[in-house]
Amino acid sequence: MSIHNKKLFLLCLATLAGLFVLQFLLSDYLVLAFTRILILAVFAMGYNVLMGYTGLVSLGHAMFFGAGVYGAGLSSYYLGVSLPVAFLAGILAAIVLSFLIGLLALRTQTVSFMIVTLMFSQAAFLLILYFSEFTGGDQGLTLPTSARSFSLFGLEVDMTSDVARYNLALTVFGVVLLGLFAFTQGPVGRLLVAVRENEDRTRMLGFDTYAIKLLAFTVSGGISGVAGALYGLMFGYIGSAFAEFKISIEALLFTLVGGPGTLLGPLVGTGLMTLLFDRLSGVTTAYLIVIGALLIVVTLWFPTGILGTLRDRWLPWLK
């Protein structure tokens, strides 16, 4: 499959190399900021699988991010499993949840689909609060010091070290990026786009579009869970704030700005927006106004986002 779209493949490799070099160039703080950006970009990339490639706008991805956070965090907190195992538990939780929610939500379309995902996500958020004895509720749980380092294949990783954190985030980001390259640029990716462009036609070419959408939904939710699990373990804290509505909106915003249906769009969107908010918080308290205004501006004038615009104009392979 990699014979397809070689240019994009090279760009992905260049991006990863660039991100690796970045840690030697940036100030300490920006390295920390980029650690966060990489994790959130993974989240947005997961969201993009569904929204960008398959054309399904979900308002409930916070629940999959949250499933990753809690699946990983709770298994580390209560069962004391090692971090790699907790990480996998988080991903598994997100995959199972997204599969089940997908089964139901995909029976609906467009507006109903948005509301259904929103409502399931709200219910998940409320459940976290309701079982606060176990989940820590809004106050959350702080992971013990023993959960701040791990060794894998003889490699000792200290989660409190900035260098280790950055490179760990970059590794996960890289794996997801290349995995998604194979997924979206190959025949399956073509099917996702086929569903987005014309679901009826795709069905009449003999595809079970429900199954395709369910696959996209589960992959999307699973990757969101990867980001959530990494975020929870990396920062050693889990809390209901990670399953809030705002988290879903951030994924939507990052994807919209960067360019839905482009592989690298979510990274661009996440990077730009995170840095923008970071700078804004020194200038104005109302960073949510900026989110609001951007949501409107992007839908009005920029519906294909930054990379989407580049793609439509000059670089058709950027997808």
Binding site: V111, L288, I289, I291, T299, L300
Partner: protein
Amino acid sequence: MDIVPYLLLATLEGLVQASVLMLTALGLSLVFGVMRVVNVSHGEFFMLGAVAAWVCANLIPGPPYVPFIAALLIAPVFVGALAWAADWAILKRINYNPEATIVSTIGLMYIIQQMTLITFGPDAQAVDAPFYYTVRFPWFGYSGYKFFIIAVAFVLVGGLLYLLRHSKVGLFMRATQFDKETAQNFGIPVTKVYSGVFAVGAMLAAIGGVLVVPSQQAHYLMGHDPLLLSFVVVIVGGLGSIPGTIAAAILIGMSDGLLSVFFSPTLAKIFSTLLVALVLVFRPQGLFGKAGR
């Protein structure tokens, strides 16, 4: 406490909730019914109504009923104008695309919320009721103003229904709802109907906000719960169906009151959000609607 006063209280509270809900949810339902879009910033129009009532109470002198009545007139006009402007500036330009509308009204929601935070401040503010009167039952007392809320809401909803059924404007709206293209061919100014409906929907929410604020408080985040409950009502009642919305408002308002009395309110909320999701999945026409079309 015995079960009788318990139920009486739950019923009264349910009725009050149902009344306010009826107004806000009708706004949302009207917009969805005619325009086929979901307005996520609807709860903020409700909040703006409440804040407008507080502003009136602070600026207009006289006994409490004077600013209250002023607010009942001013708040809907102000909020309606704002909604009309939003329709002109945003919704019209994205051609009422359902998904783009949701995204951009989420944006609008944040903007209104934060602008209110900046101007109105983070504190909850109380507004005097137009009159104070406590109805004393043998077991407990109950605010007379809340009976007033019920009365006003029912009068307004009745008036609205009458208008929809018997006026030219109502006819235009129903025609547009039924089939946009045909309506256009019959010379109905569809774009004007859209702007009007969006404004009227917001005005209904604003009136709900004004009515509620003397019994509660104005706060910049207060739009969230009414939005959620209105969603529940509109969806359970069947998207776009006015009688369904009214029936669902009463059902949800009453049962929310009862559920929260007997169960944890968080559990009640979980229940209602899941209800919305499952109704949409398994009975998209709503609990009261008929299948088909």
